[in-house]
Each structure stands twice: as structure tokens, then as C-alpha cells.
């Protein structure tokens, strides 16, 4: 007989179980999102720490540690902290802790991965009993996202000082004000979380939450089937299918986008016809259907519809996206475009993908197979994630994958990085088009969200015609939970950027 789970129905019938164990598909090396900023890192850190603002599962900003905030001028934000918040070690939260947390991110010695978000911040100061004031060099429409959990997770000054440089390791763990506190962390093994009873929010149902790292897909599923875990987060879509027989699987759009980036300044992709030929050869619908098992959406542009959040009404976005006519899968058309291009006899290109994204590899292979038919040789190679990241900005490879997980719920995050003519470090297509850049530039200073949305949408549709990027799909992530558990409160794209576990309940 399969082993009974260690505990069962922790006392009160129908209430939440005392202890829940979930499997994560890969290990964390650090709990500190400034060191390692994967989605799973956020999923853990957001249980423990909070930002000044919070994000609802659907991507709306709301009060977090700051109960209120005002913007006296374009470049100044004043946050008033919630009263009576304490860290899980019992010390009260003060504005100084917020300042210290930002300082820790900005300290160059810490080489914090989030530091770039604060590049244009002039000062962060305590300006009152519960008040923190932030001043910027220039207006930034996205700034509020910076102090949401995706850009700022607050810890205490004392803690940060005590453990400078080694926050988030198994010894030091994390300190925060969140719904849970970490009580144990062993890389490649587990993270252990206990309910923080002093949390200001609604009391979480689950007292103990254990997140086990189980890297092997087969083992992970056996763990679920044998009842050793109650569910899993972050399942890949091809894997998730296998889980459907053992658990409730929910797929949520995760805002991430996969696209092909053509270097518009380099042969052969400086030729728009070549780009179109490649686009015609790509069976994007097939990829979403076959490789991602229909659990992804064929992308029309870089920002997924969900990213537009409250900027623009959804219908308007959908309508605009529908009008974008990306080249359809059509080999004959591809041949024709290629024949008319400067490389009528085809060419050879390389496409590298990171080992952590096997679905990208499969897409690359699928593309290679199609391109072969029109006389283009595509060499597909798997490289390590680090190497892939290093290659991205190197300009050495004219054809690359763009694989991006936005941290904010704002399309500008993507557009500014990839379409803005002056964004040299990130604009891997080296796409520079005055009209697009102009629209984006105007959007940064535009404070009216409707107008801003319109400007951004204009940039998107304008750029689409030039095809610097071929958006492939918007992915989704799968969460599996045993039938006894449910994650209440909606499962929008931002479900894991917040105290998600607090919403775990018995079903």
C-alpha cells in the first residue's frame, strides 16, 4: 500500500491542512531575489517579504507595506507605511528599514540583480514617522512597479547589516514582514516555511509549508502519485500533461514571451525579406500546439495582452493585436521572399538556446526543419543559461531567442528594452526606428494612462511591420495541486508574485 501522508486533515475537518508539501522543479541557489531572480525565487521570497506596493493576481497595483502613496510632483513619490507591521522576528517595521532595503539593492558591492531598476533614483529618505520619500532623476511611469514585490522586498536594516553579502543563504535565510517566515533552506533540497502569525493580512490556512526541490520530472510525478507531495509549482507544459491524472492542474498565463530576435544591422537579417522568409517558415501555431501542448498562446507582439493591465481596455488591445498581420506559416511564400531577397540561395545561421529552456530548443528544431526546406541551414545548439545570457548582448549572433519574464505588469518594460532605438544594451535586434522610438519616448513622460497606452500600442503596431522580432508564443505556467487543496483568490498571471500560499485552502 502506498504510504499514508504523515499528517492528515490537520484537526479541524474541512479547514486547511496543517502542513503542505509542494514540489519545485528546480532548486534555488539563493533565497535573495537580488542574487537569483527566477520566477521560483519570487514565488518563495514573496511569501516572506513584501514590497511597498502589492500586486493582485491580475496585475493591479495596490497597497502593500505602504498603506498610501502620493506623487507630489513628477519625480517625487511619498509612501506612508502601514502602522503596526512587524518583522517575523518581532521587531517593528520602520521607514529606515525600507531605506536600508533599497540601499542594499543599490550598493554596488552587493552586485544586486535589481540594481538597474534604481539607476535613476536620486534619493530615498525617511521623511516622517512612517513616511519614505523617493526622488527620481527623471519621470518614470513604471516607478511604482519598482517598489512592488518585483523590485523591492523589504527587510530590516539590522538584518541586512548583520548578514551583509550573504543574505538568502541556508544559514542566514531571509527576514521579512510577509505571511510566512523561512525556517530552513537547503539548496537542492527544500525550503521550509512557517506561518507568520503576526502578519497583518488575513491569516494563512496552512501552518507549515515545505517546498521540495525535485529536479527529475519522473521522480517528481512519482512523488505526487505516491502522495509524498501535495502538488507542484512551475511545471513545464509538456510535463504538466502527465500530472493531469494525478492532480488538479491549472495553467496560468505567466506573461513571459518567446520570440526570435533578428539583428537588423547584420547580414542576412538586415534584409527585411529574409526576416519575412524566416517568419513564413515558422509554424508558430504548430509550436504552441505541439511543443507546448496548446498551453501557450501564439504571440502577436512582445507584450502579452495581460501586460496591458489597466492601461487599456482588453478589447482595444485584442483588436489592435488582431490587426497585426505577422507572416503566416507558408513555405511557398517563404521561398518567394527568400528568392527576392539578397540571399536567394539561402544561407547558414546559428540559433542557440539555453539548456533550461528545452521548449525553445524544440522550437528551434522545428524551425530548422522548415528552413531546411527553403534552403536555409539553421544550426541549433544548446548552451548553458549563463552563456546564453552573455551572448544576448554580445552582438555576435544575428539570430537569437528572446525569452523574457517581465517583472512588472506594464508593456513598456518590454517595449523600452527591445524597441527603443537608444536602448543599446537590451535592444538585441538593434532596431532603431524614429517613429517607434518617438512614441516610446513620449510614453515615458505621459502620466495619463490611457494616452500612454495608446502611444505604446502605436509603437507595437508600428514595429510589427518591420519584423525586428518574430514573437512566437506567450507561455503559461502550470500549477498542480492534489484534489484536497485549492488556491483561492484567482489565478491570474501575478498569482505567484504575492503571498500566494496564504490563499491555500482545503477544497
Amino acid at each position: 500500500a502506498p504510504p499514508r501522508r504523515e499528517e492528515d486533515e490537520g484537526g479541524q475537518g474541512g479547514a486547511s491542512p496543517e502542513k503542505v508539501t509542494l514540489a519545485l522543479p528546480s532548486s534555488l541557489s539563493s533565497l535573495d531575489v537580488g542574487r537569483e531572480s527566477g520566477t521560483l525565487n519570487y514565488a518563495v521570497a514573496c511569501l516572506v517579504q513584501e514590497g511597498l506596493l502589492s500586486v493582485s493576481p491580475d496585475g493591479e497595483l495596490g497597497p502593500g507595506l505602504a498603506a498610501r502613496w502620493t506623487q507630489p510632483d513628477e519625480r517625487t513619490y511619498v509612501f506612508t507605511l502601514r502602522r503596526g507591521v512587524t518583522f517575523s522576528d518581532g521587531t517593528p517595521l520602520t521607514p529606515d528599514d525600507v531605506v536600508a532595503s533599497v540601499e542594499a539593492i543599490r550598493d554596488p558591492k552587493n552586485t544586486n540583480a535589481l540594481a538597474y531598476l534604481y539607476a535613476h533614483v536620486t534619493s530615498v529618505k525617511v521623511t516622517g514617522d512612517l513616511e519614505v520619500t523617493v526622488r527620481l532623476k527623471k519621470p518614470d511611469a513604471l516607478f511604482l512597479w519598482t517598489v512592488s514585490p518585483s523590485g523591492l522586498l523589504v527587510s530590516s536594516r539590522a538584518f541586512l547589516k548583520r548578514h551583509r553579502g550573504e543574505v538568502g543563504t541556508g544559514k542566514t535565510l531571509l527576514l521579512g514582514t510577509g505571511a510566512y517566515r523561512v525556517t530552513g533552506f537547503a539548496a537542492d533540497d527544500h525550503v521550509l516555511l512557517e506561518r507568520n502569525d503576526a502578519w497583518w493580512g488575513e491569516k494563512p490556512g496552512v501552518r507549515t509549508l515545505k517546498l521540495d526541490f525535485v529536479p527529475d520530472a519522473g521522480t517528481r510525478l512519482v512523488a505526487m502519485k505516491s502522495g509524498a507531495v501535495d502538488g507542484a509549482l512551475g511545471l513545464a507544459s509538456d510535463e504538466a500533461r502527465g500530472w493531469e491524472s494525478a492532480a488538479e492542474v491549472t495553467y496560468t498565463e505567466d506573461r513571459s514571451v518567446v520570440a526570435l530576435a533578428f539583428d537588423t544591422g547584420k547580414a542576412p537579417f538586415d534584409d527585411p525579406r529574409v526576416r519575412r522568409a524566416v517568419a513564413h517558415a515558422a509554424d508558430r501555431a504548430g509550436m504552441a500546439e505541439g511543443i507546448l501542448h496548446g498551453k501557450a498562446q501564439v504571440a502577436a507582439a512582445l507584450p502579452s495582452p495581460g501586460m496591458w493591465g489597466d492601461l487599456l481596455p482588453a478589447e482595444q488591445v485584442t483588436a489592435a493585436y488582431d490587426r497585426i498581420a505577422l507572416p503566416a506559416h507558408d513555405l511557398a511564400a517563404a521561398r518567394k521572399e527568400l528568392a527576392a531577397s539578397g540571399h536567394p540561395d539561402g544561407f547558414t545561421a546559428e540559433l542557440h538556446y539555453p539548456g533550461s529552456g528545452p521548449q525553445l530548443g524544440k522550437a528551434a528544431l522545428a524551425l530548422a526543419a522548415e528552413l531546411k526546406k527553403i534552403g536555409v541551414t539553421l544550426k541549433v545548439e544548446e548552451i548553458t543559461l549563463e552563456q546564453w545570457i552573455a551572448e544576448l548582448g554580445s552582438g555576435k549572433f544575428p539570430l537569437q531567442f528572446l525569452w523574457y519574464f517581465p517583472t512588472t505588469g506594464d508593456p513598456a518594460e518590454l517595449l523600452d528594452a527591445y524597441l527603443h532605438g537608444e536602448a543599446e544594451a537590451t535592444n538585441i535586434a538593434r532596431y532603431d526606428q524614429a517613429k517607434v522610438t518617438g512614441a516610446l519616448q513620449a510614453a515615458t513622460t505621459e502620466t495619463d494612462s490611457g494616452k500612454r497606452g495608446a502611444l505604446l500600442l502605436e509603437a507595437v503596431t508600428e514595429a510589427a511591420g518591420d519584423l525586428p522580432y518574430l514573437p512566437l508564443w506567450w507561455a503559461s505556467t502550470a500549477t498542480a495541486l492534489s484534489g484536497r487543496l485549492a488556491l483561492g483568490g484567482g489565478d491570474g498571471p501575478f498569482a505567484l508574485t504575492g503571498p500566494w500560499a496564504a490563499r491555500l485552502r482545503s477544497s
Binding site: 527529475d216 519522473g218 505541439g290 528544431l365 522545428a366
Partner: protein, 276 residues
Amino acid sequence: MTRVRRSRRPGRLLTAACATVLALLALAACFGTALLPGWDRQDLALGAAMPDATHWLGTDALGRDIAQLLVAGARSTLAGAALVALGAMVLGNTLGLLAGYLGGRVDAVVHRLADLLLALPALLVTLVVAGIGGGGYALAVGVLVVLTSPGDIRLVRSAVREQRHLPYVEAAETLGLSRATVAVRHIWPNVLPVVVANTLLNFAGAVVSLSALSFLGLGVPPGAPDWGRLLADNRTLLYDNPSAALAPALLIVVAAVALNLLGDRLHEAFTDRGRS
């Protein structure tokens, strides 16, 4: 004394079975892709499908027919492993002959080196060197060649040292033949059968090691129909379409078992001949 009468029949049958398996594999490796021109046909819309009449073992995520992939993959799987085994044989025999024959310092160095290489965990070293060096599959095969060779080095070296003072070798020397001639023409052919048997065993080991490398993400390039790669890629299908994952695993095991058994048998036959 009552002794069990031992018939050699089952042993022969097994050997014949191994030889047949290997012959089939060799056939697949040589002509697999020619016989199945459509082995790499993709069908994204189909995706990973269950086995049916057209796709006996189902399809993989790219909609490629797994059965055809496996046949076509014999080449890449066996070629890599064969390269390791043959490379190790060439390297090992050369060094072994040199060391055993020249003796002195060369021997001491080669001997130490072989001992050191033998003590190293081959798979780990390959993982580290190929992983850090970034040379991919080719580097991995190269490293495996080097790390597989000490077996051959030891074998040949000790055989040469053992035989160097055998009368027939010394007689050849007194006839004025050069030392190299003696080593290559007289000593080496006598170890050759054991070397061949050993190479078969190395071959089997390499099939397993390379599949392990694929499992750890360091194997052949993506998309190649290599069995180890297929096994690693299709692992996630284990509970949907077990045959997609089990078939490559089974092929790896069967190939390695056949090679191992045949190698053992050859070894045995040779030592028998040496005894009588």
C-alpha cells in the same frame, strides 16, 4: 564424484543472440537513415502522440516517429561510443606498447599516468572538462577517449612487459630485428584478442556513459536521434506514453548487454586458448 554435465549449448545460443543483436544494430547504424528517409519528418500539429498503427511507439514532442528515430539513431549512438572505444584502443595501445617496450622513464610516466587516469571518475571529469571548456560533444568524446584508454594501456603494457622476456621475443631480438618491429609484429598480435575483447567492453561502457552525459545535458547536439538524448528528452512522457521513454532505455541496455556479453565471451575464449 557427481558432477553436473555442462552443455555449452545455452552459452552458444546466447553468444549467437548477442552477435545477431549487434549485427542488427550495425545494420541500423549503417543503413538506418537510408532505409527510412523520412525518419526526421516533423509533425508539430501531432505533437507527442500515443502509439498507433502508423507510429508504433508514438511520436515525440516534435511529432517525429519514435520507432524511426530509434532506428536512425543507432548511428549517432553507436558512432559516438565506437569512437570512444576505438580512440581509447588506439591511444591505449600506442602508449601501452611504447611504455612496455621502451621501459625506463617513459614507462614510469605512462604507468603513473594510466594509474591516475584509471582512478579518476571518468564521467565526472568529462562533465567538468566538457562543461567548463564549452567544447560540447566532441570534447566530451575526447575526454572519454583519454579516460577510457588506461585500461588498454595497462593491458598492453603488462602484456608487453610480460612477453618482452619470453624466449620467442628474445629470439627475434637476437635475430637483429629492431625493437619496434618486435613489439609490433610479435608481441602486439598476441594481445590483440584481449584488446579486441576489451574494446567491446569499452564500447559497452561508452554507450552507457554517453547516455548518462545526455541525461545530464551534455550529450549530442539537440535534435539528434541519439538514444540517450531521446531517453532524456522523452523522460517527461514516461507516464503518458511509456514506450517513448522505455524504448530508448531498453535499446541502450540491450546494446550494452550484447556488447558486454560478447566481450566477456571473447575474453573467456582467449584465456581458454592461453591456458591450453
